[in-house]
Symmetry: C2
Subunit: 463 residues, 2 copies
């Protein structure tokens, strides 16, 4: 019997066990659910122990994390000379509110039309649980694993993940591995096996413009500098009306996607107008016209304003010339940009772009480096091949326009390439009412992961 046969024979039990996990309301942001979060951690630790992992324990993180939800760690390291996989996931979930929009209660998992509905079904309990069931299938079939594995499962992903970030940054010995697997992303289309190989980084800033000692009456308009008018000029200069970023030199570091990736992108099933209507809900898709859409979202930086603090925003009219205007604005970064270089160039350009009579300051709120793993990386090639076999379709390579901080942390601090092998779908209602996970994807996800681990075992360990 193969591990895949085992997984197929136990599909009903696997799904039933996932439901048990989903019934624990491990809402990490809500202090009222603090015990539930810990309950979920213990439940997973017990399951890891049961299926054959060793050194199972909860790790209390330090650092500035306000919540204190533990990491769950476990390993099995009895495959000498074989590679070591680090399996990452998270057991905490988003709050379920608004409750009255759920068709069935968020913590009573319900099957409907081939989907399992519950908070956390896909983000990330269901996907993280696939890792456990893949390992169980391998253990049960062979009495051992074909490679070394470590589990690291966090409970603060939905509240910023500071605990795991501090832990990874401390480079503990027990995170030594050759690659990581993360199942917390989506497939590009139903039934289309998808690997996410790139994430954008970010600098999130506050751009503060000051025009006077204190607010002035707008009767002085025509003489008095206005921080808001000035800020509008600065923001408009940074990115022109057609979406081209105008900061000198900032695009120099951008690396064009490799031919393999571009080929994969050109094969993606994609309808721009449907994307515009259903995903953006906008009159038009915009952006730098020099680049095709996927390049704009995945392989080019952005500059987006999120809000502007200051001045008068009440009801009615107040004729004030505000002395201070502060934009919250961020840049998404792509390889090989660095957060430090982008911040310096943005800051210099803001200073150079100040209209007469104002000064400006750029403050960094947080940053994340971009990450990219080449599509011809051996772990990626191996993962792609395994998925192609399981799903019966060629695996596609995509990137994400967003950021997953743990990926950058694992890469930077531990040198781990991350295989982002996700099985969510675009309509899974992440962070929203009626979150679901396609049950077929849950089962084929388990098969994909165990097939990948089996083939990865044959690759040379880098260590």
């Amino acid at each position: 019997m193969t591990a895949i046969d085992y997984a197929r024979q136990h599909q009903q039990r696997f799904l039933s066990e996932l439901k048990t996990l989903l019934r624990i309301p491990s809402v990490s942001t809500d202090p009222a659910h603090r015990d539930d979060v810990r309950h979920a951690a213990r439940h997973i630790a017990d399951e890891l122990q049961r299926i054959g992992l060793e050194n199972v324990r909860l790790i209390e993180t330090t650092g500035s994390s306000p919540t204190g939800h533990p990491l769950v760690y476990a390993d099995w390291l009895h495959a000498p000379g074989k590679p070591t996989a680090l399996l990452y996931g998270h057991y905490d979930v988003q709050p379920p509110e608004p409750l009255d929009e759920w068709l069935t209660p968020p913590f009573e998992p319900t099957e409907r039309d081939g989907n399992l509905y519950a908070r956390g079904a896909v983000d990330d309990k269901g996907q993280m649980f696939m890792h456990l069931k893949a390992i169980e299938s391998l253990f049960a079939t062979h009495g051992k694993l074909p490679l070394n594995v470590r589990f690291l499962i966090e409970g603060e992903e939905e509240v910023g993940g500071e605990g795991i970030a501090h832990y990874v940054a401390s480079r503990p010995d027990n995170l030594h591995a050759d690659f990581a697997i993360i199942s917390d992303t989506s497939m590009f289309a139903p039934g289309l096996p998808t690997l996410c190989v790139g994430l954008r980084g970010m600098i999130y800033t506050e751009i503060e413009v000051r025009s006077a000692r204190s607010d002035l009456h707008s009767g002085l308009g025509g003489a008095a500098p206005n921080s808001f008018n000035a800020l509008a000029h600065i923001l408009a200069r940074i990115k022109d009306a057609d979406g081209r970023i105008q900061i000198p030199g900032i695009l120099d570091a951008v690396v064009a996607p490799a031919a393999d990736e571009l080929r994969s992108w050109s094969s993606l099933p994609f309808d721009e107008d449907e994307f515009r209507q259903t995903v953006l809900g906008a009159q038009a898709i915009v952006g730098d016209p020099r680049f095709p859409l996927f390049e704009r979202m995945w392989a080019q930086p952005t500059f987006d304003v999120h809000g502007i603090i200051g001045g008068f925003t009440g009801v009615g009219a107040k004729t004030v010339i505000p002395a201070k205007a502060t934009a919250k604005a961020s840049m998404r970064l792509v390889p090989n940009m660095t957060a430090a270089d982008a911040l310096q160039r943005l800051t210099d350009f803001v200073h150079q772009s100040c209209p007469p009579g104002v000064s400006a300051e750029v403050r960094l709120i947080h940053s994340a480096e971009p990450s990219l793993i080449p599509v011809n990386n051996p772990w990626i090639r191996s993962a792609a091949a395994a998925m192609t076999t399981v799903w019966g379709r060629e695996t596609v390579f995509v990137r994400s326009g967003g950021s997953i901080p743990i990926v950058g942390d694992l890469q930077r601090h531990l040198g781990l390439p991350c295989v982002m092998m996700g099985f969510g779908l675009a309509d899974d209602n992440l962070h929203a009412p009626n979150e679901k996970f396609c049950i077929r994807n849950f089962h084929l996800g388990i098969e994909s992961i165990l097939s990948f681990l089996e083939s990865a075992a044959a690759l040379q360990a880098e260590a």
Copy 2:
């Protein structure tokens, strides 16, 4: 004995009576002071009765005013063939907070260094009270007045003045007059008799930009239109970085100041750098470089942004692409611009300036027409001559960059030219702690007003 002699003989009593009025905390915006505001109205009505006015009464206004503080009306109409003056002022005051910054309590009038310190000392109880004392001096000296007078004194000026606006718009018979006197402005410099002959008008708007059905995650940046970035482009287009308004045709209606006015402006004692430091508190004086400073503030329109609603303005970072951004922004208008024309041109230009993927709407919050009275108007010439005699210096003509809605209302609905004869000083701390009125200005203001009324009596009534 002349009326001026009388006023001089009774200076101590006039000041003492003003103090009595200032002790009434008639804070119109504070419901807790509702009875005090009415007490101030009755006190003034009693004083008008005492000094010889007739038909004294409180007028309850209707309309949308939320406060319901009454107008005080009185008249004396026994000078047939003579002009009729409408004397306007307000008896309500700003809140005194922050109280701990007052050197002496705001409602315990205190003399110090030739000034009288109290909330309302100059804005506007002290200046309004000059009108009463000028009339008293004329009555006491001659047993009658040289012309017809009407008093109209409001108690909602500091809360928007909606009541009087509705009343004036109804064009009641008892406001028939030939000109108005308003003492609610300042002298250009200490000891320099000043008439304000022009006020800017205004359109106060909300410019709303929409980019999508709902907020989006900034991982979609590069494809998704951003209402804030788009709004920055629109605002930057309306007025360039050097302060030039770029709305096509909007400056066509602007009338250059008359030679007489420009001559008066060029004679004003003015230090640009001191103005920059003490009034603006800014690094630089800005504005359209094609016009000298006084023209920019008094005779050219402005476009100022007051605040921007929407998006994320909390602590930290939220990677949202806001679907909606709404700027509060206003234009100050100058003769012969009209609010309707300016609004139409602004709206058209905003629509034309929308970057791809967004739409915009301009909503009017309120408007005021600009007003200007020529410096060779007979009432102005008469007032200037009276002030020159009293103060011993040539009267200067200025305008205000702000708006006084009642001036526009009196002009538009009743056809009244307004003589703005004010005696405040730049350091009087209007609306701030330690408000004061220069006591010499109070007395010379009374003399200026009664002298003007005496000479105005000799002018032909327009009616």
